[in-house]
Symmetry: C2
Subunit: 316 residues, 2 copies
């Protein structure tokens, strides 16, 4: 299957920061950039471009949560072919913080939002687009969206300047049939837009769902090295590097990075296929209850957790 | 997608024994049987039925490698709906050790062989079939088999009494397109046989490949609890239990078993997605070199390992 239209967006720092509260050293991020650049990865998402003044408790997080341009220039003094990306959340970004692209190291700004905020997301997209950036809109929690809301969102998106529209499996609950359904639906309703996918590994399907989407024509593929990301983590970058056909990617640089940084990182912080994440994934729920269980002394009481999650009280 | 024709064959003890040299307590195996029976799993493969006199160094292994009927009767005094299976290898089984099915707790005997030994495998199948057992033939390392050899094997298999023919991804190197190709090929050449699949998780594709095969009509699905199996391990039983559609399976009993036994098991023994297994998987090689690396002080030197595996000397 040809997948040479694909571009990899490595989200290790941005989504992995949700695991370790952005506690990445400058050396880690510099080594990551060098390895991704050597591997031929197209984009590295180096963090969030949210504003600390719009978020509580932001003092404790590392600089990758609130990127600023001076700091970025120190971290990446010699930019290679790998472009840089940042994510913003609706209501957490101060648009006045964003320089024109010509004065920034960033190439791509991605806007994450729930379906009800697509209008607000597209307002931001318009501003970043006018500043010269490539843009994406990433609609989260698609598995919980009703069709009428989605069709309404498509109408707005179609008329916006956004470059790429993302299908996001926030809860890691979707399989290859679901992805085929969604990709074909997005293609039908948004014939003028390129597509992207962001997967989670609750059911060990992140990589295979990404492959299926790639083969259906999706262009931007989110991934993170060793799968590091919130909860069960993401599609592993190294698997895409080695397995995508007809591409320019190299596996080897990612192996060097993993052996230097990711083994100790995984010993210190936890992500990946753990049973509580399987439970929230199969139930199509946000992983927050699983994360809370895993941080408690009852972390291995899977049966009790399952029973609690299955209790229908209050759901009717 | 309907998958209600499927049957799960849990291989935790048999394939997991390749990880811990069959060091399973009787309590572990009894609890596993009870949980699988409660979950509605169709078969439990409780070990190998090879003969110790035909194998060197066999003293050190637990009893699950050389099942005998008296022992089995003690372990499973009250058999439920879950049938019992054992695997044999060509040249390692003494046929005289096998009782008629009417005197045995076993229901299914599976014969594993490489393509060159399919004739010998089918000789064994004939004997076990005549003794009253259900039978399968499991052709290993299919990704390394040339088409002319496969077509010759199909001819012999078609005329044999074997009930189920397995597609085995020994090296964990195949993706969904490969499985689709193989399943359709087997269906075309063996219209009178039921099919089975056995997957490995080197590329995090074991579960998704199993799902794809199930949707194409494959009946017997091998899996193991928490994925425990040689190298990168297998398709996790718990994922099939929760995700197969239109089936009678229950997830909950497997969660209880995992919390009681598998977390400590995984702390003591290692299997699953580890970078050396990704390397042998993507190179379509037996995992033995990865297992050997992981048992050495150089276990995390992935780049060196990759370079060594990529060296073409001696391959031409």
């Amino acid at each position: 299957m040809k997948t040479n239209h694909c571009k990899i967006v490595d989200c290790t720092v941005r989504d992995g920061g949700l695991v370790n509260n952005w506690d990445f050293s400058v050396e880690f991020v510099q080594d990551l950039y060098a390895s991704l650049n050597a591997a031929g990865v197209d984009y590295m998402e180096i963090g969030y471009k949210n504003s600390p003044k719009l978020m509580k408790g932001s003092e404790a997080a590392g600089p990758w949560r609130f990127l600023n341009e001076d700091f970025l220039n120190k971290v990446i003094p010699n930019k290679g072919d790998t472009k840089l990306s940042a994510l913003v959340d609706i209501g957490r970004v101060d648009e006045n913080d964003i320089l024109p692209r010509s004065e920034s190291l960033l190439d791509l700004i991605r806007v994450a939002c729930y379906i009800k905020d697509v209008d607000k997301g597209l307002d931001l997209v318009q501003k970043f687009h006018d500043l010269g950036y490539e843009t994406t809109i990433n609609i989260m929690a698609l598995s919980n969206v009703m069709d009428n809301d989605l069709v309404e969102a498509f109408q707005m998106i179609k008329e916006s300047p956004v470059d790429v529209v993302y299908i996001v499996d926030s809860y890691g609950s979707l399989d290859h049939n679901d992805f085929k359904f969604l990709v074909e639906k997005f293609q039908e309703h948004l014939p003028n837009k390129r597509l992207g996918v962001h997967t989670h590994n609750n059911m060990q399907l992140a990589f295979s769902n990404t492959l299926v989407a790639a083969e259906l024509g999706v262009e931007l593929l989110d991934a993170s090295v060793y799968g590091m990301g919130r909860g069960a983590g993401n599609c592993p970058t190294e698997l895409l590097l080695t397995h995508l056909k007809n591409t320019k990617y190299h596996l080897r640089p990612s192996l060097g990075f993993i052996q230097k940084h990711m083994i100790t990182m995984r010993e210190k912080w936890e992500w990946g296929y753990l049973i509580p994440y399987l439970v929230t994934g199969t139930l199509d729920e946000h992983p927050r209850s699983a994360m809370s269980l895993l941080a408690s002394p009852d972390r291995d009481k899977y049966e009790e957790f399952y029973d609690r999650m299955m209790t229908p009280e209050g759901s009717f």
